[in-house]
Amino acid sequence: MNLRDTPEEAAFRAELRAWIEESLTDEVRRGRFEEAGRDWSRKLYEGGYAGLTWPKEYGGAGAPYSHQAIFLEEMARAEAPSHLGVIGLGMAGPTIIAHGTEEQKRARLEAILSTEEIWCQGFSEPGAGSDLSAVRTSAIEHGDHFVVNGQKVWSSFAHIADWCILVTRSDPESQRHAGLTYLIVNMHSPGVEVRPLRQITGEAEFNEIFFTDVEVPVENVLGDVGDGWAVAMTTLLHERGTLGFALTAALESQIRKLIALAKERGATEVQRDAIAREWIGLQAVRYTTYRSLTTLIKTGIPGPEGSGAKLWWSEANQRVTKLALELLGPEAQILGGGDRNGGYWQHQQLRSRGNTIEAGTSEILRNIIAERVLGLPRSR
């Protein structure tokens, strides 16, 4: 056991830190994600820091997971925004790497890293949320293409997306997990209509997507026709942050800001206790992620200990953002009040309510831990 950087890791960290120092401006740090994020993402790409663990032949750096962990730690320390291609980098890309054809990899992967192509995820439907196997959006094979009809909902970034990872039912007679096909769909195709949905925060980051006789070439099937469930599981594994680095980094950055706020505004004994509690929780997720990473490096499979990372993080982030509002006092009710960053914590607190719903609700994650990790009898 050695929790310190190896010389090689230390060198990577030092080089990265210098690069961030030079590249990250205050404008980027404070700018709105959709605009500032695009420039920053390009810089990350040009610096070779986008897709660190992706294979070199598709624009990645082919680096070990430990570099990705260091990268995210340093980004959090510098309070840098994340790459704009959240869905592309975190879900579509890894799924294409795992199941895609050579042509699909060549055509799509590098464009994700450079933000030339933004992705969205079309999984949830009005009748299929926690139970993804209830999807009804249909894809009927017709010569060299599928004809897609149906509706998706809660699709983040669909309003700016060029491509969509879409779970469809290709066999109309099929039930549940069988008969599903996973497609990659060009969002600029005729028949695709996106309607933004206003969220609890007031902004519209997620959307409804309507598909009316949209033609999708058969080359755009990811994995095999009828085997969409297995492909979707790969996506969910990545979405739920099996490795937890990204979650740790996000929480680290929040807690740094929280501590700065407490120093600036003062904190009662009770608030000090609560802040210490959250900081301790952060170290706990961080080191659990490291344990899981070590298991991954040694065995090729992440250890089960990491399975609670998303569950813990989402609830911790909700507590942290509430704590920040409490530190702001009654001013927290005035729009943008008391907060140097103009409403940052108000926005974060509301946004955090989505954390226990998106990427698998907390209830579903507890079901998964109970059944698959603890081996308890199944509830369904």
């Binding site: 056991m1 050695n2 929790l3 310190r4 950087d5 190896t6 890791e9 430990s66 962990a69 501590i259 407490a262 120093k263 904190a267 000090r272 206790d273 802040i275 210490a276 509690r277 900081w279 301790i280 929780g281 170290q283 706990a284 997720v285 961080r286 080191y287 659990t288 490291y290 344990r291 990473l293 070590t294 298991t295 040694k298 200990e305 399975s307 609670g308 569950l311 813990w312 209830e363 507890r366 079901n367 831990i369 109970a370 059944e371 990790v373 603890l374 081996g375 308890l376 009898p377 199944r378 509830s379």
Partner: protein, 290 residues
Amino acid sequence: MDFAFTQEQEELRREARAFLEENPEAQLAELRELGWLGVSVPEERGGGGLSFLDEAILFEEAGRALYSGPFLTTAVVLPALPEVDEQAWSVEVDGFVPDLLHVDRVLTEGMQSVPAEGETLATMDETRPLGRLTSSDGEAVDGEWEPVRLRLLAALALEAVGIAQRALELGIEYVSEREQFGKKIGTYQAVSHPLADTYVETELARSLAYWAAFCVAEDDEQAPVAVPAAKAFCAETAVAACERSIQVHGGIGFTWEHPLHRYYKRAQWLDAFGGHAAVQRAVVAAALLD
């Protein structure tokens, strides 16, 4: 970065677990025979020449087995002595001495080695009584209390992880067998979800305890924060793990006959000794905010 025990350490864990399952009441002398005392003391001072990380495994396993002898206190004192001796040791913290009547000598916060004489008080955890010394006059031991304190708190955190793990296992076993309303009770989410929470917290606690152990082993500058962080989280996790396990056991979990209450009382003992979680968090808060 490599956050895993070595093959040898994993082997030590297997041996320790097997031995303690067979001999939960083993005498301290038997543990000494096995080489479990003075593990992290350099060989030239009569120790095992290994690290606190090896010792960490033993503390965790002792907790899991609810071992009741003065192993932990002896183990954390030995590195402070000029030479490993054959005596059983305890420590005096906040005026209390664990296992006073089962040890030979006591190391005080003032770094005095005092004969183990005094009165023993009945404790909630019957397996780990606390005593009060009648005199604190003894021989001065060279060195500082702080490293002893950090080892002690880290060891308590590790023991708490063992307790939490066992309480979880007992819960899993029970709800996988017991049926009510025609179904295994583990299928009810009101039963399974608290156990899932215990699992998540126990893994988090384990990571903190190993981090603290690493900091102690390496004399890392983070040790004064890592150790109280681990003590706070691990003790609270162990207490909550026992409470949830008692709840999912129903009436049987409330009996003297069932082992759970012993784990529960040990967990609370671990939280209290050396300062409850809130006391530890105050140390962390000061490091973060002042």
